[in-house]
């Protein structure tokens, strides 16, 4: 039977994710690199007590709408729905914007494990590569080394960092075929390509599905073996007309200042 990893809806793509699951969420922090529609499906499903693995904890759709994005939801949708119990993350808070996650963290309603960004990428890669752990120089002499085995190799001190094993990885790619081969667009590759294959089930949200054979084998970034499900974004999305929050307006002003400086 021909392999076909394409599923017909976002709800179907996340149907078997249970309460308490550990979920990797791809992307860098920008909404363009984020599996927006899969996160919306998780929000509709309403599952709770999730542990997430991601680079940031989301800025919220208002921030992105102000920048003109139609697909505007990021991890914040799960945070403000109260679906997150614990976040394993490199950048939990922002210097220009107090996101929902920071508010919940300060209120003691979510837990955080902060991981240096490169270590986070490598702990994810270690799972995909079947490694028992990696020795990294990052974090030696800092709060990050607490409770970790140290080892001196060739005169340099390293920390033993263990793989992060998730139940599901939700990622965003540009194009896919029915085997799950993926290509990305520009810097939206980021943690998406790193997380593919690092969970029991990898689900890819894509802009476009193409015929098998259409993707140049020389430029496929994620081979289909790492991908279990593919689901395509609608061309258009309905944008709600809720008023934008004052905080988002303020953050937009600061971001523009930074952008023009």
């Amino acid at each position: 039977m021909p392999i076909n990893k394409i599923v017909s809806s976002f709800d179907e793509a996340v149907a078997d994710i249970p309460d308490g699951a550990m979920i990797m969420i791809g992307g860098f922090g920008t909404v363009a690199s984020c599996p927006t529609c899969l996160l919306e499906a998780l929000a509709r499903k309403g599952i709770k007590n999730l542990t997430t693995v991601s680079n940031t904890t989301g800025f919220g759709s208002d921030v992105w709408k102000l920048l003109g994005y139609k697909f505007s939801e990021d991890m914040d949708i799960l945070v403000r729905n109260g679906q997150i119990k614990r976040s394993i993350v490199a950048a939990p808070v922002s210097t220009i914007y107090q996101n929902t996650f920071e508010k919940l963290l300060r209120a003691g309603k979510v837990e955080v494990e902060m991981v240096p960004q490169g270590t986070l990428a490598e702990r994810i890669r270690a799972t995909r590569a079947g490694l028992g752990g990696v020795y990294v120089p990052t974090g030696v002499g800092t709060v990050v080394e607490q409770g970790k085995e140290k080892k001196v190799i060739d005169g340099r001190t390293y920390l033993l960092e263990l793989p992060i094993k998730a139940d599901f990885a939700l990622i965003k790619a540009h194009k896919a075929d029915r085997w799950g081969n993926l290509v990305y667009r520009r810097t939206s590759r980021t943690f998406n390509a790193t997380m593919a294959g690092a969970a029991r089930v990898t689900v890819a949200e894509v802009d476009e599905i193409v015929e098998l054979g259409e993707l140049d084998p020389e430029v496929i970034v994620t081979p289909g073996i790492y991908v279990d499900r593919v689901v395509v974004r609608p061309k258009e999305i309905k944008v709600d007309d809720k008023p934008i929050s004052q905080e988002a307006l303020e953050s937009n002003r600061r971001m523009k200042e930074r952008g023009s400086s």
Binding site: A121, G141, H174, R185, G259, S260
Partner: protein, 222 residues
């Protein structure tokens, strides 16, 4: 009495950029560092790296313009140039951690006389973000810190021992502040340049550890 000048953010970035050598691969942090990309000395080809998976990019667009799928680590849209390459996050940090970058430039909160760096947690905020700072601090061949010389309360940021949470130990090579350029050496901190109107003694008064004044210490060169 001679008037004292403090370098503003753009001028500090200009001074930082003078460190970029022809052919260098450089990562610039958010804030003053990222401004340095505008001041690469003429005739030098410098390739910029960004943590989110790109080597070689051009001009920064205003937020909301440009390609949403092509941004730098600050989330600012940037432009593609001949030679641009994209890669995944694990590859990006292999570049960072593997010692392939010639220079990393970051902001700082405190630097110790041994070159320890604290730059991810402002104690009053209690919650901070490590992001890619720890990897960049241990990974680059040369680490330059651009920061104001003192805090808002006029307390030294260059200290004997950092009191803030550390980013990495013995990692800083050069400190560019609004009043001085200081090199971290095995013998201690060497004052190499002062802002116009400042004497080495005046810089020392705002610096906790003892500075070694370079024999050729001069006005900051821009």
């Amino acid at each position: 009495m001679e008037e004292k000048f403090r370098l503003d953010r753009q001028t500090m970035a200009l001074r930082v950029a003078r460190e970029f050598q022809d052919g260098d691969h450089v990562n610039l942090g958010i804030g003053i560092p990222v401004l340095a990309s505008n001041y690469v000395p003429a005739g030098r080809e410098v390739v910029f790296h960004s943590e989110n998976g790109v080597l070689g990019f051009g001009e920064v667009h205003t937020a909301g313009e440009g390609d949403p799928d092509f941004v730098n680590a600050g989330g600012q849209p940037v432009s593609i140039i001949p030679g641009t390459s994209f890669f995944a996050h694990d590859e990006s940090f292999s570049i960072v951690r593997g010692g392939h970058l010639d220079i990393s430039v970051m902001g700082g909160l405190q630097v110790s006389e041994k070159g320890d760096l604290a730059n991810w947690l402002v104690p009053e905020r209690q919650i901070g973000t490590i992001g890619g700072a720890m990897d960049l601090a241990v990974g680059a061949k040369r680490l330059i810190i651009a920061m104001n010389h003192v805090t808002k309360d006029n307390q030294p940021r260059i200290v004997k021992k950092c009191t803030y949470q550390l980013t990495a130990v013995e990692c800083v090579d050069l400190i560019v502040t609004d009043i001085a350029v200081i090199e971290v050496t095995k013998k201690g901190l060497v004052l190499k340049e002062v802002a116009p109107g400042w004497t080495p003694e005046e810089v020392q008064k705002l610096t906790e550890p003892k500075l070694i004044v370079a024999p050729d210490c001069r006005d900051v060169e821009l």
